[in-house]
């Protein structure tokens, strides 16, 4: 819902937000420009090969992000065949038609949490935010080992595979 004023906040001046008059009542409201996202990168519990995605638990702003971004990249804990959600499409949060690509990344939210899969690991988060050089981050990243099974949809050699919709890789992979 729109807002008439931000009080004494300096944010409006900082961002040069303008006011518009409500054509019906004449009341003035703040008009805050939309954030133009090139990409939204969203980690979900389940996605199918068509890019349809299901979020379990809190959805935060992820559904809005997917609808506002020019491109959407989905990473997922579980990758399912095309039309796997056809029996309950009302439970699909992000429609595949908005999604550019799906990346199969079990543990992709680590060391933060993924509801019903794993909890956050405070010590690891502290470690990551303490890194000041790319090398130390990459060394940490390379040291990660997950007990994750390869996706049967991507072939046994691929533990972390990606597929780009429209490249014919999806159903053939």
């Amino acid at each position: 819902m729109p807002l008439t004023s931000l009080g004494e906040s300096h944010l409006g001046h900082l961002h040069k937000w303008q006011e518009v008059a409500d054509p019906y009542t004449g009341e003035h409201y703040l008009a805050i420009p939309a954030i133009q996202l090139d990409w939204a990168i969203i980690h979900v519990q389940q996605a199918d090969l068509l890019g349809n995605a299901r979020i379990f638990g809190s959805k935060f702003e992820d559904v809005l992000l997917a609808r506002s971004a020019r491109h959407v990249l989905i990473t997922c804990e579980e990758l399912l065949p095309a039309y796997a959600f056809a029996d309950q499409p009302e439970n699909t949060d992000i429609p595949g038609l908005l999604v550019d690509c799906v990346v199969y990344v079990p543990h992709g939210a680590y060391p933060t949490s993924c509801y019903q899969h794993y909890s956050l690991v405070e010590k690891e988060i502290e470690k990551v935010v303490s890194f000041t050089e790319t090398e130390s981050f990459l060394a940490w990243f390379d040291s990660l080992q997950y007990p994750c099974a390869p996706s049967p949809l991507l072939g046994s050699a691929l533990v972390q595979g990606y597929l780009l919709k429209g490249e014919g890789g999806a159903e053939n992979a």
Binding site: M1, L3, G7, H10, S58, K59, F60, E61, S119
Partner: protein, 239 residues
């Protein structure tokens, strides 16, 4: 066992909530989380508990350090997302919002944006999230700050992220301030503190509200209740 300062902050925040109201906290808010559960367990069983994880009156099995954690989901029958919170506030139905600031000033304004000049800040802070909106639209703003010192409580914020427009309180380890005549004034002094100690640690010349009193003392049973609600002592992460 909770420290004296922790217990008085929890009890003070809890007492400011009324039965039948709605109360919302965001991330990094262990004290508000425990205060809301404390209020529900004592004088406000019909308080509606809302949070940034999206749950409504959850019954968490264990309390998380992070208050945007799935551990806040058990017991909820629906999900009420942050965008819904903003609309609820705009409709005038958000009674209490818990907010804080890196700096809080005499007029109850908070700074979550910059320290130093905006063009070349000395420190870039995380940002106010929805505080500029919620401080205008909630019915009561409960500010809390575990550091009561002159660095945090300043005469005037260097950048105003959000300013109060309604009933506003600030709870610290030493006292409760209340916005009175556009100024945060001492409304309740914790029994182990004093006006002299509060003045020594506050960046402006403090004044009291007409009804300023001592915060009701906590008995051993009060500490035991707090211990039952927060057995892991998650609030310690804020101190």
């Amino acid at each position: 066992m909770h420290s004296q300062q922790q217990a008085y902050m929890i009890a003070s925040l809890s007492r400011l909530l009324r039965d039948g109201e709605t109360a919302f906290h965001g991330l990094a808010s262990p004290l508000p989380m425990v205060a809301i559960l404390h209020a529900q367990a004592t004088h406000a069983p019909h308080l509606t508990y809302l949070n940034i994880a999206g749950s409504v009156n959850p019954k968490p099995l264990t309390l998380p350090h992070s208050t945007v954690d799935p551990h806040l989901l058990p017991g909820t029958g629906s999900l009420f997302a942050l965008v819904d919170i903003f609309d609820l506030a705009a409709r005038g139905r958000l009674d209490n919002v818990f907010l804080s600031g890196v700096q809080i000033d005499r007029k109850g304004r908070i700074n979550m944006s910059f320290i130093g000049p905006v063009a070349q800040p000395k420190v870039r802070l995380p940002g106010g999230a929805g505080s500029a909106f919620l401080m205008q639209k909630a019915k009561r703003v409960l500010l809390w700050k575990t550091k009561h010192d002159r660095r945090s409580l300043v005469p005037e914020v260097s950048f105003c992220t959000a300013s109060p427009a309604c009933e506003t309180y600030l709870v610290t380890p030493l006292c409760i301030f209340k916005l009175f005549d556009h100024e945060l004034r001492v409304a309740s002094i914790h029994p182990y503190s004093s006006l002299a100690e509060i003045q020594a640690n506050t960046g402006w010349q403090i004044r009291c509200t007409p009804d300023c009193a001592l915060t009701p003392p906590l008995a051993p049973a009060d500490y035991e209740l707090i211990e039952r609600i927060d057995p892991g002592g998650v609030v310690a992460i804020e101190f």
